[in-house]
Amino acid sequence: MNLTLKIWRQKNNSDKGGFKDYKLGGVSKDMSFLEMLDVLNEELAAKGEDPVHFDHDCREGICGMCSLYINGKPHGPQQTTTCQLHMRSFNDGETITIEPWRAKAFPVLKDLVTDRSAFDRIIQAGGYVSVNTGGVPDANEIPIPKTIADMAMDAAQCIGCGACVAACKNASAMLFTSAKVSQLALLPQGQVERKTRAEKMVAQMDAEGFGACTNTGACEAECPKGISITNIARMNREYFSAVVSSQNV
């Protein structure tokens, strides 16, 4: 396959940045999207040009490090991560536009690399059960109905890639935040801190500069792990019930 790649290049956070076009030939349909970029980078490196920087690590669709806004969609045309997207999803002669995540809370560091540490800070605000190592009950002490455990697992599958934010016209992080709030609100282990967790995580999400949710469902449609927006509904319930009985006045 022969392709034209329209790629966002930006030297660093203070650089304005802009698109640059590259021609790339000899692309096989079996390559993953990132392997296609590897080929481009090898060509650039051989010519002494600075390779296109992008985040990636496991290349198995689970670490959540890869991103890329491809032809106007986070992670490209398939509902998967960019590392699992293969070139058989594209056609010979196609022009592919590649951009970084666009959100105020995810500043661009270089080319296609963004800073997603805002997600870490949301988790630090309360995305945990406060138990120290040791001194916990036996794992089978509290039976959990399979349906509940499965629902918690559905939410827990979030890989923290940020596609939900990139897909949202408001750059809202509601899907990400609600996935963790849901997981822990569903499980018995999460009950003790249920209310404070919802309050604190939502407050941190707002403080990071993410936008509000207007229920367009774009996040769910683009989530590579199929995290459902029912989690957002659940988080809203959790949040309201927490706020009306809040000790934080």
Binding site: D30, E42, I62, C63, D120, A139, I159
Partner: protein, 644 residues
Amino acid sequence: MILDSKIPEGPLAEKWTKHKFNVKLVNPANKRKYDVIVVGTGLAGASAAASLAELGYNVKAFCFQDSPRRAHSIAAQGGINAAKNYQNDGDSVYRLFYDTIKGGDYRARESNVYRLAEVSVKIIDQCVAQGVPFAREYGGLLANRSFGGAQVSRTFYARGQTGQQLLLGAYSALSRQVANGKVKLYPRTEMMDVVTIDGKAKGIITRNLITGAIESHAAHAVLLCTGGYGNVFFLSTNAMGSNVTAAWRAHKKGALMANPCFTQIHPTCIPVSGDHQSKLTLMSESLRNDGRVWVPATVATAEKLRKGQIKANDIKEEDRDYFLERKYPSFGNLVPRDVASRNAKYVCDEGRGVNETGEAVFLDFRDAIKRDGKDIISAKYGNLFDMYQQITGENPYEMPMMIYPAVHYTMGGLWVDYNLMTNVPGLYALGEANFSDHGANRLGASALMQGLADGYFVIPYTIGDYLAQNPAGKIGTDHPEFQKAEKEVKERIQKLLGIKGEKTIDHFHKRLGKIMWDYCGMARTEEGLKKAKAMIKELKSEFWSSVNVLGDNEELNQSLEKAHRVADFIELGELMVDDALNRNESCGGHFREEYQTPEGEALRDDENFAYVAAWKYLGEGQEEELVKEPLIFENVKLTQRSYK
């Protein structure tokens, strides 16, 4: 040099309990006067950092990824072992210990492995308390499945994403300590060197991957939780960023590297599809619970298959060879990884491989789907089937999967004593980065167990013993050793950037990988290894004269990051070859063709090689010195491993 493994006296089952009583303690008020550096935030690193911070130590945690949640432990699929015996099927701490020692082909320390089995049960309790959503039965209790090398069901799992859920559990505990101010996090930061003062580890030098700033960090102890070095093979199931740099720099500062040639080749990976391939993808071993491994019975049928004249489903039952079930009736498709891999290689070498390259075997779910229905199989393995389809474009519900062995895990690593301390005082290695628990072959679902055992339940006890004997209080980076180490790091960076040769970094990495795979992979010979050694030496000098590292230090520079890592892989590769050459026996994943039984199984030499081969760095260009730690087996009898 004599290595002191510090194995406690007394009966096996009492060693850890006694040791916990005998080690020195740091009182709660004094813990806050000690600083600990943790490098790496995978299962071992995150659990250690969180647990030590909970105890009151001041922790600095470093990772090269943009968030600690991305460490490669996250990609572990199948599960985590624990001797809970919830299934009432005869499991016990002793059985898990025995299976692990046997699975490792009797090349691991009894005392460490027993402790691992002992604390395994607490790991599951801890993870459940954190809100890890393990799979459950309809009654609400935890579900188990079976894994290779065991005849009991002791593997706990969270769909095919167990590593993810366990890591996110440890990450949540870590995040809580970050919020409490007890852990300071340094993401996108790579460790470039260990600093030793008067022979003790006192800190590290790091590079900020965004700004390029070279910085010193001091602490009373340094924990390396930096994973394995499978990427020395270029193609492996490891993440692209997984590297040996931290461990290798520690090695060059005096820490011994043990059994580096013990690498695990995992039998169920998606076969290589072309030269562009950047990494290999594992299909969980749990698939071997229900999938049957086979190739055509004859070369002629396999040829037709490769030419596309027939399809897998056209081949009749009697023309199929379920070679694992045939050769190993009692373990069948669930033989340990090294055995399954080697046998896949044998049938492909015979010309019975099933894909275009001839390097693939089938993993077939037809019978399982017929027996249990598609829904049940999909509930168990749905995400793996989807992943397979995504990568290969084929539907495994209708066509058998194609798999082939690939590098997956490294049992070798930094030598540590019973306390997980390397021979450099104050420098510890946890998880895959150390060598201690898996011998010459790791059993499935045991890596997660070891990473979390080390971090949650071993280091919190053993580190106190060292710290209590060392003065607390402020520790600065003004010692000349820090300046010296910083200067060396900067010089090395300038050297790499200054070569400005004509070849790319990947060019060298790929060549190294091919040498390692061909000569130090699934089967090794003296002749091949000698050849590999010469080739690696040549590659190294070529690298340092003709590599082209682009850009500058003072920016986000992925070429420079990669160059450091590849340079270290080349040196490690040479040591792996030396280690494989030295070990004139076959054991576990280390298969020397000269040493095999008439049936083609690994032939150990317990008389001469029942030892840990620990290597000491003596200086640039010099052969490393071999230091032996004899392995003493007081509880298990060394026998030829049999899974028949």
